[in-house]
């Protein structure tokens, strides 16, 4: 995966994206008393036909980032380029053609479909909105889509309530697929599903990527799921990217202490190997994004934190002898074989 060089390989380029939400208070006059730093200077790229996995806890800003890329919320500053075009801050009208190419799949299969509309109408919505097909033609296309995602096309007239969670996600996928987009942003699409159903939906997404050359921005908090679907991974914490790179590199040799902690918390497939693994328990809670910690945002909870960490923000850059694609934002990245649990405030399980 190349970095900035071959530009026609890159579908989405996010540069220094910042999104703050104002906090208002006041008795008589509503003043802005603070900002929620949801996304704070994030840059990343998504290559064509590949999947970028975005990992983070609740409050890390990954959903906000997704919505900024999709153009659903305006950015505070920064740039989003899609297919070579700058789509930051486009008007609703100018954004419409772009919307055919960027689609979203949502987390909750129970609330992402309008309960009062029939499934055929829901899937046919993109055709109706963009006026690309009507009547019998539209019905045919919708039924093709339903078949492609594994639904019975004869259920065209049913209501979402008559489908299971996994089937509803398929409906969401069908809807997103209708206009053959280039990018599908998946906001935790399998988090609300049972594990066996997760497998089906993930396999479906993988098949579709192969068939249609789709790019995915795949957001999740489950590391194993992300490992399975992604080509490259970015780890977010409190609005910033802590580490990013091809998945083999990030999972194989994580350099950011947060990444290490996350990986150590994931249930391991092999219990014996897990027994020897160090378990890192982070102290404290995720701080509020209204008043993020100074310097490196992770430093209050980091087992390796030093004075420098509270003073200076680390830049996202290549560390030591890492390959050029593996970027970390840390002053004291984790070395190979280092026992993080022994350093400072962590506890061994």
């Amino acid at each position: 995966m190349s970095t900035a060089a071959a530009d026609d390989d890159v579908l989405v380029r996010v540069e220094h994206l910042v999104k703050y939400f104002p906090v208002r208070a006041g008795a008589l006059i509503r003043r802005t008393v603070g900002q929620v730093h949801a996304v704070d200077d994030v840059s990343l790229t998504i290559p064509r036909g590949k999947t970028l996995g975005l990992v983070g806890e609740t409050g890390s800003g990954k959903s906000t980032l997704a919505r900024c890329v999709a153009g659903l919320i305006p950015v505070t500053s920064g740039r989003v380029s899609f297919d070579g075009r700058d789509i930051t801050g486009l008007s609703h009208g100018a954004m419409r053609p772009v919307r055919r190419e960027i689609q979203m799949i949502f987390q909750d299969p129970y609330s992402s479909l309008n309960p009062r509309r029939r499934v055929g109408s829901i899937i046919g919505d993109p055709f109706a909105i963009h006026k690309t097909a009507t009547g019998a033609e539209r019905k045919r296309l919708v039924q093709e889509l339903m078949e492609r995602v594994g639904l019975n096309p004869e259920h065209y007239n049913r209501f979402p309530a008559e489908f299971s969670g996994g089937q509803r996600q398929r409906i969401g996928v069908a809807r997103a697929l209708a206009l053959r987009p280039k990018l599908i942003i998946c906001d935790e699409p399998v988090s609300a599903l049972d594990v066996s159903i997760q497998a089906q939906v993930l396999n479906l997404l993988a098949d579709l990527q192969q068939d249609y050359g789709l790019s995915y921005l795949f957001i999740a908090h489950d590391l194993e799921v992300v490992r399975h679907v992604s080509d490259s991974v970015a780890v977010m914490y409190l609005g910033r990217i802590g580490e990013s790179g091809p998945k083999e590199q990030v999972y194989g040799s994580p350099r950011h202490p947060y990444t290490v902690a996350l990986l150590s918390a994931a249930p391991a497939a092999d219990p014996e190997a897990a027994a020897g693994r160090q378990r890192i328990i982070l102290a404290g809670d995720v701080p509020s994004p209204i008043d993020p910690p100074s310097g490196c945002r992770f430093h209050p909870r980091c087992p390796k934190a030093r004075a420098l960490c509270g003073e200076q923000e680390p830049q996202l850059e290549v560390k030591a002898d890492d390959p050029a694609t593996h970027l970390t934002a840390c002053h004291f990245p984790v070395e190979a074989g280092e026992n993080l649990a022994a350093a400072g405030r962590s506890e061994l399980t």
């Binding site: 979203m104 919505d125 159903i197 997760q198 497939a269």
Partner: protein, 353 residues
């Protein structure tokens, strides 16, 4: 998916159900409503009232007593008082000037039902539009519209009716205007509240991500979710409108004599308290039966739309469904016979002027 090193291959079990059209919310509601005996009785009563009103001229032909013709000879006692029911072909007796009371009640029904339906229709259309726009667009638009709605709701209707009656003179269009003016506010407030909460749902965000414009979202995605409460509100507003019209007529600010209106009749009846009980009782009964029927029907529709709630007067089907008292299962509004006035949604904002 390699959680355990095994490939879990799960296949979708093909559904072999025949092609079934999903039953829409309306079909389900209607089926439940049909089982509610009280609501069905109310519906029948309303239907009868409407028929009686429409076929009033037929009764005129039978009794030979047009509504505005006085019969001083046969219709009044020697002292000039109304005659009791059953005398001289007056089925329910006569009124203060010797007119057939029954016929006048029928023609009064025409006015009441007409005003009730028309004002509710206007008010619902306006209220839904305002509520949707205020709720969806938010910001300044919402601020202005919501404040305006609250002001109208809190405004004493009598004061406005007084003022308009003086300036424009009382007449049917003025009454319809005044009553509609107040009806839209209650509906707008509820619709706004509902819109605000529906707007946050993911399927709305999904629609926006597809590129849908605001009006498409409002009318195709949000509105279908609103129709249920709006229908209940509208049905329950009709009796309010009827009572409103009757009150205005009673005060002399409504339909002017000699046109028959229930309020008018009851106003004149006050002069004959001690000598003509029928003059009060029968029009009052007509009014009461009509409003009661609409209230019961509105209640029934509300219960039919929300099957989780228990009903006090439910039939056998309801009894079978009733189990332990589930937490939150009893909502007072659904269980309890309803007001013509639906409490506004106070989760949005407390009323302020």
């Amino acid at each position: 998916m390699s959680l355990t090193g095994l490939e879990i291959v799960a296949e979708e079990v093909p559904s072999d159900a025949p092609v079934v059209e999903g039953r829409s919310q309306w079909q389900l509601t209607w089926r439940r409503l049909r089982q509610d005996k009280v609501a069905m009785a109310a519906l029948a009563v309303i239907a009868i009232m409407i028929l009686l009103a429409i076929f009033a001229p037929v009764f005129v032909a039978i009794t030979h007593h047009p509504p505005n013709i006085a019969y001083p000879l046969t219709g009044e006692t020697a002292a000039g008082n109304p005659v009791p029911p059953g005398t001289a072909g007056f089925w329910l007796g006569t009124d203060g000037t010797g007119r057939d009371l029954f016929i006048r009640i029928l023609y009064g029904a025409r006015i009441s039902l007409f005003v009730g339906f028309v004002t509710t229709a206007i008010g619902t259309l306006a209220g839904v539009s305002v509520g949707l726009i205020a709720g969806y667009f938010g910001g300044v638009v919402d601020l202005v519209l919501a404040r305006f709605t609250d002001a109208v709701l809190a405004f004493p209707y009598v004061v406005l009716a007084l003022a308009l009656a003086v300036v424009l003179g009382p007449s049917l269009p003025v009454i319809i205007g005044v009553i509609s003016f107040f009806s839209w506010a209650a509906i707008a407030r509820v619709v706004r509240g509902q819109t605000l909460s529906i707007k946050e749902k993911e399927y709305i965000e999904a629609a926006r991500s597809l590129g849908a414009g605001p009006f498409r979202i409002m009318f195709i995605d949000i509105l279908p979710n609103l129709l249920a409460p709006v229908l209940v509100l509208a049905t329950l507003y009709i009796p309010t409108a009827i009572v409103f019209e009757a009150t205005l007529s009673y005060l002399g600010l409504g339909i002017q004599p000699p046109t028959a209106s229930w309020g008018d009749i009851l106003a004149d009846a006050q002069n004959f308290y001690s000598v003509a009980w029928w003059y009060i009782v029968f029009p009052a009964a007509a009014l009461l039966i009509t409003t009661l029927a609409f209230n019961l029907l509105g209640d029934g529709i509300r219960d039919a739309m929300d099957p989780r709630t228990e009903r006090i007067f439910a039939g056998a089907a309801g009894r079978r469904r009733r189990g332990r008292l589930r937490r939150g299962a009893l909502t007072g509004g659904a269980n309890f016979p309803n007001a013509a006035y639906v409490p506004p949604d106070h989760t949005a904002n407390p009323p302020e002027i």
